[in-house]
C-alpha cells in the first residue's frame, strides 16, 4: 500500500501538479504530520499504522487549512482515509478549502479498524491504494455503541453522561485536534455560555454546545476521543447527534460530495 502512495506522491510532485503533499512521516522515531515538497526524500513516509492499523492518525486536513490560508493559490495533495475524505467534502461545503486546490491521495482502512471505529465508510471515493469492501463486509455500519447507551433507562443515561462530563478538565483538546473545528471565534470561549477558568466545566453546556456545532460537521474520525485525557466518549456523543441528523433530515456529514447541510438552509425543508 505504501509503495502505491509513494508512487502517487512522486508523480504529483515531479509533474509539478501540486506544490506539496501533506502526509505523515517519521522523524526522530515518531510519526507526525509533514509536508513533502519536490526533491524531498519519501523514505520517511508512513501511513499512521504503528502497533495497530490507524493508531497514529493526525488531523492532516487541519494542516491543509493552515497551508491554504497562507497560500490560497497553491494546490496541495493530502493523504486521506475515508473519514478524512468526508472531512474534505465538509470543508469544501463550509468554504474552508477549495476542491480545485486539493488532490486527495486515498487509502482504505482494514476491517478491524473499521469495526473499532464503527465506521460508516472506511474507504475514500477517490482511492490510490487499498480496496473498497462492499458495505456488508466492511462491517462497520452497525452503531453498537449508540445502541448500547440507548438501551439504558433514561435516568441511568442521564447519570452516565453527567458522570462523564464531570471528568472534563477543560483542556479544549477535543476542539483543538478536530479537523472540522476551524472558527476564529469559538463558542466554547464565549463567557455567556462557558465560564472562564472554572472547574467543573459548565454541565451540560460545554459538551452539548460542541455536540450541536458538530451536528452537521463531525465526520466521525475519532480524533477527539483519542485526545481526551480523561476518556470521555465524545465520539459516541457525536455519533448520536449524527444519527439524529440522519433520521430527521437524511443527512450524513461528508458522505456525499455536494450535499448541502439542512442546518444551512433557510425556509421550508426541501423534498427528500
Amino acid at each position: 500500500m505504501i509503495d502505491q502512495v509513494k508512487q502517487k506522491i512522486n508523480e504529483l510532485l515531479s509533474q509539478g501538479s501540486v506544490k506539496g503533499v501533506v502526509a505523515l512521516a517519521y522523524a526522530h522515531g515518531h510519526a507526525g504530520p509533514c509536508l513533502f515538497q519536490k526533491g524531498d526524500d519519501l523514505d520517511a513516509l508512513c501511513l499512521g499504522d504503528e502497533k495497530k492499523a490507524g493508531d497514529v492518525r493526525y488531523p492532516l486536513n487541519k494542516v491543509l487549512i493552515t497551508l491554504a490560508r497562507q497560500y490560497p493559490d497553491d494546490v496541495f495533495g493530502v493523504l486521506v482515509r475515508g473519514c478524512d475524505e468526508r472531512g474534505l467534502y465538509g470543508l469544501y461545503r463550509l468554504k474552508q478549502l477549495e476542491p480545485d486546490k486539493v488532490v486527495p491521495i486515498g487509502i482504505s482502512c482494514p476491517r478491524d479498524l473499521a469495526l473499532a471505529c464503527e465506521c460508516k465508510k472506511p474507504w475514500p471515493d477517490d482511492m490510490t491504494a487499498g480496496e473498497a469492501p462492499n458495505e456488508k463486509e466492511s462491517g462497520g455500519t452497525e452503531q453498537k455503541g449508540v445502541q448500547d447507551v440507548e438501551g439504558k433507562e433514561q435516568p441511568e443515561r442521564f447519570d452516565f453522561w453527567k458522570d462523564q462530563f464531570l471528568k472534563c478538565v477543560k483542556c479544549y483538546g477535543c476542539r483543538d485536534i478536530c479537523p472540522m473545528c476551524f472558527c476564529y471565534d469559538c463558542s466554547l470561549e464565549c463567557e455567556d455560555l462557558v465560564s472562564k477558568g472554572d472547574l467543573p466545566v459548565d454541565i451540560p453546556t460545554f459538551h452539548l454546545v460542541r455536540a450541536m456545532h458538530m451536528a452537521d460537521r463531525c465526520i466521525d474520525c475519532g480524533l477527539c476521543d483519542e485526545a481526551c485525557p480523561v476518556d470521555i466518549p465524545l465520539r459516541l456523543l457525536y455519533k448520536k447527534t449524527a444519527e439524529v441528523m440522519n433520521h430527521e433530515f437524511g443527512f450524513t456529514s461528508g458522505i456525499n460530495k455536494n450535499e448541502i447541510s439542512p442546518l444551512s438552509l433557510m425556509g421550508p425543508m426541501p423534498e427528500k
Binding site: 515518531h30 507526525g32 493552515t66 478538565v169 477543560k170 483542556c171
Partner: protein
C-alpha cells in the same frame, strides 16, 4: 514554503509531555500532541495545547526588569545580575542565610534545579528551597 513540525518537550511542568510545535515560514502556527510520546500518548492539558501562543506574544518579557524609584524598567542582564548578587550578599550578612528563600521552577531542567538548590545550600547556606508547583 517551509512547513515543519518540531518534536519537543512541553516546558510547562515536570511531566515531560511530547508535542510537535508546528511552524510555517518561521512562525509558530500550532501545537500538536505527539501520539507516540510515552508520557502523554497524544493528550495535553490546556497549557500544553497553547504552548505556541506565548512564544510570539507581544506581552512576553524579553529583558530583565528592575524596580527603580517605584517603576519597573528594562535593564541589561549584567546590571540585573550585579544588583541581585549584591543585595543577596547584603541580606545574608545582615539578616542571616535563612532570610533568603529559593523557588525552583518546573520550567527548567532537572540539572538547573539541582544547581539552584546547591547554590542555596552550599553557597548561601539555607535549606529554604521550595517549588513553584506548591504556590
Amino acid at each position: 514554503m517551509d512547513y515543519k513540525n518540531t518534536l519537543t518537550t512541553c516546558t510547562y511542568c515536570g511531566c515531560g509531555c511530547n508535542f510537535f510545535l508546528e511552524s510555517l515560514d518561521g512562525r509558530l502556527t500550532g501545537t500538536i500532541p505527539c501520539k507516540t510520546g510515552p508520557v502523554n500518548e497524544g493528550k495535553l492539558c490546556i497549557k500544553g495545547w497553547n504552548a505556541h501562543e506565548f512564544v510570539q506574544s507581544d506581552e512576553r518579557l524579553k529583558k530583565p526588569l528592575l524596580r527603580k524609584d517605584g517603576e519597573l524598567v528594562e535593564v541589561s542582564w549584567d546590571e540585573a545580575l550585579d544588583f541581585t548578587a549584591t543585595r543577596l550578599k547584603e541580606i545574608q550578612k545582615t539578616n542571616g542565610p535563612d532570610a533568603i528563600g529559593f523557588c525552583a521552577s518546573a520550567k527548567v531542567t532537572n540539572e538547573e534545579n539541582y544547581i539552584m538548590q546547591k547554590f542555596a545550600r552550599a553557597g548561601v547556606g539555607t535549606n529554604s528551597v521550595d517549588h513553584c508547583a506548591r504556590l
